[in-house]
Amino acid sequence: MMNLPLLIVLTAVKITLVLVVFLTAIAYTVLMERKVLGFIQLRYGPNRVGPWGLLQPLADLIKLLFKEDFTPPQVNKVLFVLAPIITAVTAFLPFAVIPFAQNLLPPCFTIFGQEVDLTVAALNQGVIADINVGLLYVFAMSSLAVYGAVLGGWASNNKYSLLGGLRLSAQMISYELALGLSVIGVLMFAGSLSLVKIVEAQKSMWFIVYQPLGFLLFFISALAECARTPFDLIECENELVAGFQTEYSSMKWALFMLGEYCHIIVASALATTLFLGGWQGPLLPPIAWFVIKTFALVFVFIWFRGTFPRFRFDQLMYLGWKVLLPLGLLNILVTGAIILFLQR
C-alpha cells in the first residue's frame, strides 16, 4: 500500500488520457456524420475549415463557446442547468468498463527504486475499470441518461420540451427491455457480465456468428436508446421544434450534443465488445481493431440516418413491444435450448 498515491495518480492520468481521446473522437464523429451525410446527398460536407474540413469541430467549439448562454426566465434554474450535465456525464460513464485494448503496460515496473504493481485496478489493461458486473453497470448508466432529457424537458417549462422529454422516457423504457434481452444470449455464451471476460470468450469466434438475431435486436434497440433516426422522435423538428433541447443554447446545448454523440460511440463500442470480438483481430494492434470496428458501426448509425425516415410514435411502441421483445425472448429460448442440447 506504499504505492497508493502513485496508483491514484496513474489512474487519474489514464482516465484523463482516455477522456481526452474520447472527447476528440466525439468531436470528429460530428464531422464524420456531416461528411457522410454530405456524401450520401452528393455534397462534400464541411470542407472550408482546414484541409478537408478537419478543423471544423474546433471551429464549432469556438462558435458554441462564444454564443450567448441564455436561460429563459420561466425555467427551473437548477434543473435547467443540471439536465445537460446529467446527459453528458451519464453518456461518458459506460465507457469506463469497455475494454479498448488488451494490455497497455507491463504488469509491473520500477520507479524511484520502488516496485509498482500495475495489475491493481486493471491499470495495465486497456480498460478503465474491469468490474465483474460490467454490463449491468453499462445498462444502469445508460438508463440514467433519460433523466437528463426528462429534466431538461420539464425544467424548460415549455410544451415542446416536455413532450420531447416524455417521449424519450417512454421510448427508453420500451427499448431498454429489448436491449437487455438481446444481450442475454451473449451472456449465456460468455458466462460472465465482465466485458473483459466477454471479449476474451470471443477469442475463437465472434458472438455475432452465434447470435445474429441478438446483434440485430441489440443494434436496433441501441438506435432507439441513442434516440437516433429512425427513432429520433424526441427531437423531430416538424412536431416538437427540437424536443427537450428547444430552450437550450451555447454550451448547455453543446453538452446535449456531446451526450448524443457520446451515446453513439458507446453503443457502437458496446456492440463491438459484445458481438464483434472487441479488440481482437489479426495483424493490427488491438486498439486499432477496436477503433476500426467501433467506427464502422458509427458509420452504420450515420448511414441509417441518411437513409431511413422517422417512425410514427405508435409504430415505435409497436416495434418495441410487439416485435423486438418477443424476438428477444425467442432468441433467449433458442440459444438456451441449443446450449442445453450441446451440453448433453
Binding site: G38, F39, I40, Q41, L42, Y44, F304, G306, T307, F308
Partner: protein, 143 residues
C-alpha cells in the same frame, strides 16, 4: 418488409461513392447559358468601334429608365454615334427589351451574374464602362 430497407441502404451507400455534384462556388464558377440575361452592355465591331447609332430606341423602350443620357454626334460620313451613354444597373431589371429593340445589335445582355458592389456608383456605368471590349465571361471586378 426487410428488402425495401436494404434497397434504401444500398441506394444511399451507392451515393457515398458517387462524385458530388456540388460546384465549389467561389473557386469554380458556372458558365451561364448563351440566353442568360446578365446586364446590358454596348457591343463593338471587329475594329473595336461601337455599333451604337444613338437612335435612343433602347432608352425609349426601357421600362425602368435604366438607360439614359444618350448624346448623339455625327461623323465625317454623316454616321451617328453616341458620345455619352449611361446604363444604370441600380435601375436595370434585366428584361432584355433594349436588346430586342436595338436595330443594330449594339446593346446586348451579357452573361455576368456576380453584379453586387460595395460602391453604388460603380453600378452606374458611363459609355466607356458600358462598352464590352470582347465577348467573354468577365469577372465582377471589371464593373
Amino acid at each position: 418488409m426487410i428488402i425495401p430497407l436494404i434497397k434504401g441502404l444500398a441506394t444511399t451507400l451507392r451515393m457515398v461513392f458517387t462524385k458530388p455534384i456540388t460546384l465549389q462556388y467561389p473557386e469554380e464558377k458556372k458558365e451561364m447559358t448563351p440566353r442568360w440575361r446578365g446586364h446590358p452592355e454596348l457591343t463593338v465591331n471587329e475594329d473595336g468601334s461601337r455599333r451604337c447609332v444613338a437612335c435612343t430606341l433602347c432608352m425609349v423602350v426601357c421600362p425602368s429608365n435604366a438607360i439614359k443620357g444618350i448624346v448623339p454626334a455625327e461623323g465625317p460620313e454623316h454616321e451617328k454615334y453616341p458620345t455619352a451613354f449611361t446604363i444604370d444597373l441600380t435601375r436595370c431589371i434585366f428584361c432584355g427589351f433594349c436588346q430586342e429593340a436595338c436595330p443594330k445589335g449594339a446593346i446586348k445582355l451579357n452573361r455576368l451574374y456576380e453584379l453586387a458592389q460595395y460602391d453604388k456608383n460603380l453600378l452606374i456605368m458611363d459609355i466607356d464602362r458600358a462598352t464590352q471590349p470582347k465577348s467573354e465571361l468577365r469577372r465582377p471586378d471589371w464593373l
